[in-house]
C-alpha cells in the first residue's frame, strides 16, 4: 500500500503543479517542450524529435487580457488559455500546436498569432471526412508539415525508426491507461475520483514512457489488493473535462466512484490506438479514421450515446454525468440527442455546467448531492 501511495502522491504533485514539473524535466533532460492544445495533437511526432509534448487545457485564472480577443460567451478553457498566453505563462515552450476541430479553436489559432507572437503557433486542421482516402492523404500532409516544423525546432531529423518507436510507446501508454481506468473502477476506495483524475492528468506534463512505467507499477500493486465491495454509487462522466478540482471532491464526498469516462480531457485521449502499418506517418493519419464517439469528430449516426450505454452496461454504472463545458457548441449540440437516448435506456443523467473559472461550486454541490441520493434510492 505504501508503494501505491507514493506513486499516487508523485503523480498528484505533477498534476497539481504542472509548470514546476515541466521545468524540472526540461532542466534535467535539456529537452524542449512543445505545447499541445485540445484536441488530438499528433504527440508522437514531437516525441520522436526528442522533445516533451505538454498538454495545454487552461486552468483557473482571472480573465482580463483575454477580453481583448474574446467576448464573455467564449468557452472558458480557451478564455483561460488566451489569458495565460497573454500573461507569458507559455513563453518557455518552443512552440504550440493548435488543432481546429471547432469554430472556437479556429479563432484561438488566429488570436494566438496576433496576441502571442513570442510563441510560434502551428495550426492543424483535421479532416472531418476521414472515411475517404483523400481525407487520410490530406491529414498526412498536415502531419508532414508538423514534422518539418518539429525537425526545425529540435534540430534533429525525425527518422521512420524514431517515429515507429514513438508510436509504440504511445500505444503502450494508451493501453496502460485503459487498463488503469478499469482498475480504478474495481478499486474505488483507493483510486478515488480525485486520484483517478490526477493519474490521468499527470500524463500531460510527463514523458509518456516514465508516466506509463509508474502507472504500470500502480496497476500491479493494485492487483495485489483484495477487491472490496463498493457500497457507493457508480458514475460515468461524459463531456470535455471535469474540473476544477473542488468539483471532483464533491463527487468523492457523495461516495460516488468514477467507473468510466468519455471526457475529451481523459479517456477520449487514449481509447484509440494508432493502427499497424508500414509507413508511420500514414499510420498516424489513419488513427484519426478510427476515432469515434467524440463531439469534435464528424458522426452523422451519432454513436456517442450508444457507446455510453454500452459502457453503463459493462461497468454497472447507475448514472451518467453530462459535464457541459459552458459555451461549447459541439457538446451542446450532442446533448439533446444524448438526453433522449439516456431517457429511452432508463439511465439517469445529470446535466452539470462546467466553467473553469467557476468561483463557487455550491450550486453544483446541491445538484450532485440530490443526483447521488436519487440514484442511490432507485
Amino acid at each position: 500500500m505504501d508503494k501505491i501511495l507514493t506513486i499516487i502522491s508523485e503523480l498528484k504533485e505533477v498534476a497539481d503543479y504542472p509548470a514546476q514539473a515541466i521545468k524540472k524535466q526540461m532542466n534535467a533532460t535539456g529537452k524542449k517542450a512543445v505545447g499541445c492544445l485540445p484536441v488530438y495533437c499528433p504527440e508522437e511526432i514531437i516525441y520522436a524529435a526528442n522533445m516533451l509534448p505538454v498538454g495545454i487545457w487552461g486552468g483557473q485564472t482571472t480573465i482580463s487580457k483575454a477580453n481583448k480577443y474574446f467576448p464573455a460567451f467564449a468557452c472558458s478553457i480557451m478564455q483561460s488559455v488566451m489569458e495565460l498566453s497573454l500573461n507569458g505563462v507559455y513563453d518557455d515552450l518552443a512552440t504550440v500546436i493548435i488543432p481546429s476541430p471547432c469554430d472556437t479553436l479556429k479563432t484561438v489559432v488566429q488570436n494566438w498569432i496576433s496576441g502571442v507572437p513570442q510563441v510560434k503557433c502551428i495550426p492543424i486542421v483535421h479532416p472531418q471526412m476521414s472515411r475517404i482516402e483523400e481525407g487520410v492523404i490530406y491529414l498526412q500532409t498536415e502531419y508532414e508539415r508538423v514534422k518539418k516544423e518539429m525537425e526545425a525546432i529540435s534540430g534533429q531529423k525525425i527518422t521512420n525508426e524514431a517515429l515507429t518507436k514513438s508510436i509504440e510507446i504511445y500505444n503502450q501508454y494508451r493501453q496502460t491507461m485503459r487498463e488503469f481506468t478499469e482498475f480504478a473502477a474495481v478499486y474505488p476506495e483507493v483510486i478515488s475520483p480525485v486520484v483517478r483524475h490526477a493519474v490521468i492528468k499527470s500524463a500531460f506534463f510527463m514523458d509518456k514512457a516514465e508516466h506509463m512505467a509508474m502507472v504500470k507499477e500502480l496497476i500491479a500493486e493494485l492487483g495485489k489488493l483484495p477487491v472490496k465491495e463498493w457500497n457507493g454509487s457508480k458514475l460515468i462522466l461524459t463531456g470535455i473535462m471535469f474540473e476544477p478540482a473542488n468539483l471532483i471532491e464533491i463527487i468523492e464526498e457523495n461516495r460516488a466512484a468514477i467507473v468510466a469516462d468519455d471526457l475529451a480531457h481523459e479517456s477520449r485521449l487514449f481509447r484509440t490506438d494508432v493502427p499497424e502499418g508500414n509507413d508511420p506517418m500514414e499510420r498516424l493519419a489513419r488513427q484519426w479514421q478510427h476515432m469515434k464517439g467524440c463531439s469534435l469528430v464528424y458522426d452523422p449516426k451519432k454513436n456517442r450515446g450508444q457507446m455510453i450505454i454500452e459502457q453503463v452496461k459493462k461497468t454497472g454504472a447507475n448514472g451518467v454525468v453530462m459535464c457541459m463545458m459552458k459555451f461549447c457548441d459541439p457538446e451542446e449540440f450532442d446533448y439533446p440527442i444524448l438526453k433522449k437516448e439516456m431517457e429511452a435506456a432508463g439511465i439517469p443523467m445529470l446535466y452539470l455546467e462546467i466553467d473553469q473559472q467557476m468561483q463557487s461550486v455550491e450550486q453544483a454541490r446541491t445538484r450532485i448531492q440530490s443526483f447521488a441520493e436519487m440514484i442511490a434510492n432507485r
Binding site: D103, K302, P330
Partner: protein
Amino acid sequence: MVSEKLNSKQLLNQLTQKHYNDAKAAKERGGLVAWSTSVAPQELCETMGIEVLYPENHAAAIGAKGGAIPLLEYSEGNGYSIDLCSYARINLAYMETEDCCFENMPLPDLIICCNNICNTLIKWYENIARELNIPMIMIDVPFNHDYEVSQERIDYIKGQFKEAIWQLEEICGRPFDYQRFEEVMKISAESAKTWKYAMGLASNVPSPLNGFNIFNYMALIVCMRGKPESIQLFKLVAQELEELIENGGSQFPAKEEYRVMWEGIACWPFLGHNFKTLKKYGINVVGSTYPDAWALIYDANDLDGMARAYASVMNNCGVDYQSDLRTRIIKDFKCDGAIYHMNRSCKLMDFMQFEMQRRVAENTGVPYVVFDGDQTDPRNFAQAQFETKVQALVEMMEQNKAAKNEEVK
C-alpha cells in the same frame, strides 16, 4: 423563365414563391428534396434535379416575420442551449413542428452540409441526419489559417465532390449527368458574377442601392444560384441601379449623408427598426461582405477552381484575410464609418471580430461602433443600445466630416 415585365422587387417575390412551390410540388409527386447549408456546392444537387431548400434562409425569414420565439422555445425545451446559433434552434424545432409563420418547407430526403462558413453547421446537420434518419452529404472544407488555399486542401475537397456524386447516384438511382453538371457550373458562376457586379454598384456616390435591400436579394443568391432565373434577377437589379445612377437617384429613401459598412448578418427581427434608425441620420449601408460571400466564380469543368472557390469563402479565412477584405470594402465603397454586429449566434465571426476591428480601424482611420445582437433571437437585442451606438457613430463621422471640410477651406 418568368415574365420579364416585372420590376426586381416583383420578380424577387415571384421567384421566392416559386422556390418553395417547386419544392412542395416535387415532394408531392415523390421527388427528392434536400436541405442545404447556404454556401454548399448546390451544383451537385441541381445537376441531379433535386429541389434544394435552405434552412438558414428559412430561419431568417421566420425571424424577420416575427415568428422566431415559439420555435426557439420549442428547441430549448428539447435541451438545446440558448447559447447555440438561433438559425439552428429555429430549424431543429421546425423539423419537428413543420409549422411556422412563413412558408412551410417540406422535410428533406437528404441533406448537404459544407462547413466553409462554420463548423456549427456540422453539428446542426448531424442532428438532422440522425433525427430524420436520412443520408448526409458532407463537404468538409478545412479552415484556411494561411492566406491561400493549399493544393492539398483542394485535392481533399475534390475527393469529397467525387464521394458526394457517388452518394447522389445511389440516392437517386441513376448516373450523374456530367454534361448537365457543366451547364449548371456555367450558370452558377455567371449568377455569382452578376450578383457581385450588381451589389458592387453600391460603390457609386450616392449609392443607387439601399443597403438593406441586399438582405432581400440575398435570398435568391442563396436559393437559386444554379438556376438561370437568378441571372435574370440580378441583371434586372443591375439594370435598375444603373438607371438610378444615370438619373442621380437611389433606392435609399433619404439623402445619403453617411455611407457605412455593416459587418455581420442582419438582425432579422429588427430589420425595420435598424433601417429606420439609420435612415433618420441619412446613413446608407453601402459596404458589406455580402457581395463577396457568394462570389463563387470559377470556370465550367474546372473542379480545382470550384473547390478553391468554395474553400475561399471569407468565413473560412483567418484574421489577415478578413481584415484586408473589410479594409478594401471601406475604401472601395467610400465608407465613413462601420457598424459591427456582435452576433450572439455566430461564435466564429465574433471571436475574430475584436482583432479585426482594431486592424480595420488602423488601416482605414474610419470610426466604428459595435452593438450586441442576434440574427434571429429577439431576446439578444436591445433597441436602445443600438440607437445609442448609431448616435455615437454619427457624432464621430460628423467630426471627421467637419475636419475634412476645414481642410478643404
